[in-house]
Symmetry: none
Subunit: 201 residues, 4 copies
């Protein structure tokens, strides 16, 4: 490895971990792989992180935070509640599709790891759902859209996004993602329906 640069080493390990976890999944990713990919050593890994489990959790946490912040930032720059909703949606979608590895980690590899990770994964999903829900609620509050179960809708949207991303990520033809963002977004927004006579039920 390079010079004695504690923080640099730590960063390289984190990046390597993201890479390896995204590529092989949690169980098939070896601490050895991460050490090798990060161009450090197993000792370095265990100096910086207490366990494989811990770095994965940490990664999950960091990524959620970053992605959520990205989304919130973009949303803030929009005006009007409905706009903000579309914005939230577009941004979450864009953000996720921009960070393929992170997304794969959060939405593919983080599943099915057994009870040990359930809490964490639920938290990750919740974090995204909350961004969506908050802005849906704002739109409801200011009358832009009719009242609805914002939590349910948020999860439904998140799931829709997740599934479309998943099938895209898991597929070999990985190029169609951008093409899908807009129609998916339209589809979801439509589910908020503004009824014919402009009145809520």
């Amino acid at each position: 490895m390079r010079a004695r640069d504690k923080e640099g080493t730590r960063q390289r390990i984190i990046e390597a971990a993201l890479e390896v976890f995204a590529d092989k999944g949690y169980n098939d990713a070896l601490v050895d792989d991460i050490a090798r990919t990060s161009d450090t050593s197993k000792g370095a890994f265990y100096f910086h992180f207490p366990s494989k489990h811990a770095i994965f959790e940490s990664l999950l946490h960091t990524l959620v935070e970053r992605l959520v912040n990205d989304a919130e930032g973009a949303i803030d720059r929009s005006e009007g509640a409905l706009d903000k909703v579309e914005s939230a949606l577009q941004t979450v979608l864009a953000t996720l599709s921009k960070h393929e590895k992170a997304t794969r980690l959060l939405f593919v590899e983080a599943s099915g790891l057994g009870r040990a990770f359930d809490r964490q994964v639920r938290a990750a999903h919740q974090a995204f759902a909350k961004v969506i829900a908050r802005h849906l609620q704002a739109a409801v509050d200011d009358g832009s859209i009719c009242p609805l179960d914002v939590e349910l809708t948020a999860y439904a949207w998140l799931g829709a996004i997740h599934e479309v991303l998943y099938m895209t990520l898991i597929d070999d033809s990985k190029k169609r993602l951008e093409t899908l963002a807009t129609p998916l977004c339209q589809l979801l927004v439509r589910s908020l329906k503004r009824p014919v006579d402009n009145a809520c039920d």
Copy 2:
């Protein structure tokens, strides 16, 4: 173990496998657990199945087939394309929520197992999406709904369903599922929007 009953033993092993995989996830489930749960032995397991991997795949395949058939059956009993769409949706949702373990296996534990299972998992998702897509297309064809990307919509719906089920399954308060079925269904159907002037764009 009980009497010498080949098919019975095989069934007990299958059920035990479903139970254990659903409970612990693929990696944390031991072949020993399955043997113990099925009240047979490791030898019996390997007499009936070539590997842990194989029984999991087989389980996936069987469950998808069964659930898809359930759904198709219910759909056939509805009249009218739009009805069938709602029916498909309701039925898939009902079927999935009725078979909690199977659903958990298919939509939670089957993810993140690494590349070895990707093909199979994709196939499972596709199977469900196709049921939805077929009936959406029928509705489009007979003018009940406006043209739209039925494949995308099918995956989006599946994802929405999946996510809602997931958060429900993963949560401790497992009782809310029935409550959610109807609003979720409404939400999704709304996304097919019949616009104000009754004309498609």
Copy 3:
């Protein structure tokens, strides 16, 4: 399997065992293989033989007996001590090369099985060595050849035969065996040297 023919079943199992052991070696031969090859079942195997170990030993014993008898028979038909020696040699060689599977079992697969078989293998080698030694001794006794350590010579000869057979059996070009019998035989007989002045040292 066929009719209830106890002895027939037993024979088929014995033949299958010879076949499978010769083909795969003791450890790689499965009792299942023997059952399948004999067109019977594992149960039948264990009805007729107490264990895999036991049938192998029994096979070894039977084959040694048969081969030794073959050789003795042929030798009896020769006249004169030296003739008998050459005869013993030729016959053992011919017999071994005629029964390839048995030979492979006795001289290849029976080695390296660990202490459990050592006694038996030693006995098998001894049996052959004794045939050779007895006739060498007869030749010494009647003055046809000079006195020598007949036991050592017998083992040396056996080893020479064994090695040549082994390299032939283990090789892909299995055809050269007959070609080698005569020169090998000459070589060995020469080692009994009749010195120049026809006198022993």
Copy 4:
């Protein structure tokens, strides 16, 4: 274990493997036995060698090389072709009898391991046969002995040596080996016979 000494550990494992394989044979030798005997651990074993199969092959290869080199060295120090032949013989014999474990490994335990090791075992035997054959050929070339099939003779000799060693090694009365070396050697050299009239046939 002792100090962290990579090469030392590796050597201890190699020696332990030789010991255990020679003692129990390949199949009955457990990787755990080797780990225990080497005073290291299973992990250390697998750190240094990829598999049980691999260390056995490696051992075979190393031992053949070492023994062949020993023999060649001693032979080089003799003068005259026929002398060299006797020398080769004496030396191979002496070398083999000096390294009992190695010899047992090469000539006893390495047999009967199934097709997986055939190539390697054949190569080992060939290596020794070649040493003998080369010097026999030299003796033929310089007229010291009459023309003969040197390859066949080499294998016959090797087999004779092997068998005598084998019966000695396998026997409990392990002390007779030195006693046998000289008469065996004489026996074999006699098989090159220089006929009465000093002419070749």
